[in-house]
């Protein structure tokens, strides 16, 4: 009993030490959710380039497999790299990855969504916990991205639109691999914008407003969705 007590005290300090270290000198990727280059406000009225008036209520998206390439050809690959960005939880948009340094970063690579191997790996925890509401029950698999809101253009119940984009079975494997060339020192965070205007400008909400299953339409949306991401 005593042994267990001591060990948990130590473990506590150990974790504390780890987390303290994380904050002080780690290089992070910060994602910035925007509409037309301005920070997105939830439930705020916007007009898209396709002329739809709309409000966004939910944005959630998995970022996985983060990799940093340096100009000396070394590569940092994050382990267990699965992160859920959730508009309800602003902190989730900043992802610490590795130590800051004086090296030059030449490229960042990451996936939007979850790879097929992880999709068949059974019950998982952390950001991959099915409790997070990013998992399909009747057809196993992660929802890579959820965008939900309202628009008078949608002749649906309560004018809602719902996009649940995902799928891991070919030919409907929806994960998108993103690569951004950079030329910056690794002593400062990397900033990536996610501009929802670019998503909605490719879309007519009166015609496309509810996509909730993997398939052809989801693949199209996944292809639009990668246009939202840009290096700042």
């Amino acid at each position: 009993m005593i042994k267990k007590g001591i060990h948990s005290v130590f473990l506590f300090f150990f974790c504390f030490w780890l987390s303290a270290q994380n904050k002080s000198d780690s290089l992070a990727v910060n994602f910035h959710l925007e509409f037309n280059k301005l920070p997105l406000k939830l439930n705020h009225k916007y007009v898209s380039a396709a002329n739809d008036t709309l409000t966004v209520e939910t944005f959630r998206c998995y970022i996985s497999g983060i990799q940093i390439q340096y100009d000396d050809n070394s590569v940092f690959t994050q382990k267990e790299s699965y992160h859920l960005l959730d508009s309800e939880n602003p902190n989730s948009f900043s992802i610490p990855i590795t130590k800051k340094s004086d090296k030059l970063i030449s490229k960042i690579i990451f996936n939007i969504g979850i790879d097929s191997v992880t999709n068949v790996s059974g019950a998982l925890a952390g950001d991959l916990d099915p409790i997070k509401g990013m998992y399909w029950a009747w057809q196993s698999g992660y929802i890579n991205m959820k965008i939900e809101g309202k628009s008078p253009s949608c002749k649906t119940r309560k004018n809602e639109f719902q996009f649940h984009v995902g799928g891991y079975l070919k030919p409907f494997y929806a994960m998108q691999c993103m690569k951004f060339p950079l030329d910056k020192k690794a002593d400062d965070d990397i900033n990536i914008g996610i501009d929802l205007n670019r998503f909605f400008s490719n879309l007519e909400l009166s015609k496309t407003n509810s996509i909730m299953i993997p398939g052809k339409e989801a693949m199209k949306l996944a292809a639009h969705s990668n246009k939202m991401f840009y290096s700042q």
Binding site: H7, F10, S121, A123, L124, D129, A137
Partner: protein, 339 residues
């Protein structure tokens, strides 16, 4: 140097901690019957222990998993019926709400790659999310299940026995349920005893076995009595259900009306039959295969040649199918309601 010592003491303590967590759970070895294929389930990611299995067993029989605490897994998968339900064609869930499909018998799941009639579920561990959250089954949210179990002193004890601490997570719930369901192994029917040379078939069963191998085994492949593939066995689609089976998952027209080949182990006990529960008994099943095939473009090629069976053949075939009943599985006290 000082720092180094600090670190190694810390590491030692952590290791002792691990030793603690490993020691209290009793490993169970999953035995693969002789000449059976290698299981599909990855036991290395969920090592079975007595404590984990018992937790799973308690969860399986507990209606606490449903929103109004009325329906347990066993409501639809009862041990007396080889872990399916018998009284109705389509499953009944919470408040008597009717599902779209007949319940499947839970048996030899360690050898299945895909689950459900359409194979939509890709891993045994995530299968329970489906009934728990389905509005016509248990209609509950996973996070509520976690909360309810965390509040229960009984489950806090069971979780700490299985995992070393009381923390309830969805991953722990799902892995424990899988520990129970994956252990539901049936390999001791008369058929198995004959294969092990511990018994012999009656003349009737032997004739039935030959007929089975000629007409049925291409899909209901031994020893699991399922190829684990998706086939169209000529069942006429029920217009009110509009169930295309596998096509829902693959969106491939070739998969229209294809369903997972179900095992025939304990088949005598698991009627009514087929994904829609449309066939009442085994003689009717044989009538289906000989005289009542619905011809559609995706009909499996094994069935394009007419199957002819006379009255005596049918009796023999049924005698063989009845030799697939495994009493020691049905009555195994380890699988019954926990007391």
């Amino acid at each position: 140097m000082k720092r180094y010592w600090k670190h190694s003491t810390l590491m030692c303590l952590i290791l002792i901690g691990f030793a603690f967590t490993v020691r209290f759970a009793t490993p169970i070895y999953f035995e693969v019957p002789d000449k059976w294929p290698k299981p599909v389930y990855d036991f290395s990611k969920n090592p079975i222990t007595e404590e984990g299995f018992q937790l799973g067993r308690n969860l399986f029989y507990d209606p606490i998993l449903s929103r109004d605490k009325t329906i347990s897994c066993a409501s639809c998968h009862s041990p007396n019926n080889a872990f399916t339900h018998v009284d109705h064609d389509l499953s009944h869930g919470i408040e008597g709400r009717k599902g779209k499909r007949n319940s499947l018998a839970l048996v030899n799941l360690a050898w299945s790659k895909n689950f459900m009639w359409d194979g939509g579920v890709n891993n045994l561990e995530v299968q329970p999310i489906n009934p728990i959250t389905n509005p016509v089954e248990m209609d509950e949210k996973l996070e509520n299940v976690v909360t309810k179990l965390q509040q229960s002193p009984k489950y806090r004890t069971l979780f700490s026995k299985a995992y070393g601490d009381e923390k309830v997570t969805s991953q722990r719930i799902l892995k424990a349920l899988a520990q129970f369901t994956v252990m539901l192994k049936s390999s001791d029917s008369k058929y198995d005893k004959v294969m092990r040379h511990e018994a012999s078939f009656t003349q009737q069963e032997e004739k039935g076995y030959q007929l089975f191998k000629a007409n049925c085994a291409s899909c209901h492949t031994e020893p699991l009595f399922s190829s684990d593939k998706f086939e169209n066995n000529g069942l006429k689609p029920d217009d009110s259900l509009k169930d295309g089976g596998r096509i829902k998952i693959t969106k491939n027209i070739k998969d229209s009306l294809r369903f997972k080949v179900p095992t025939l182990r304990n088949i005598k006990l698991t009627g009514p039959y087929m994904h829609d529960g449309s066939i009442q008994n085994l003689p009717m099943v044989l009538f289906h295969y000989t005289d009542d095939l619905y011809k559609s473009p995706s009909l499996s090629k094994q069935l394009t040649k007419k199957i002819t069976l006379n009255k005596e053949d049918k009796d023999n075939l049924i005698a063989f199918l009845e030799a697939l009943t495994d009493e020691s599985f049905i009555h195994n006290p380890k699988f019954q309601y926990p007391r």
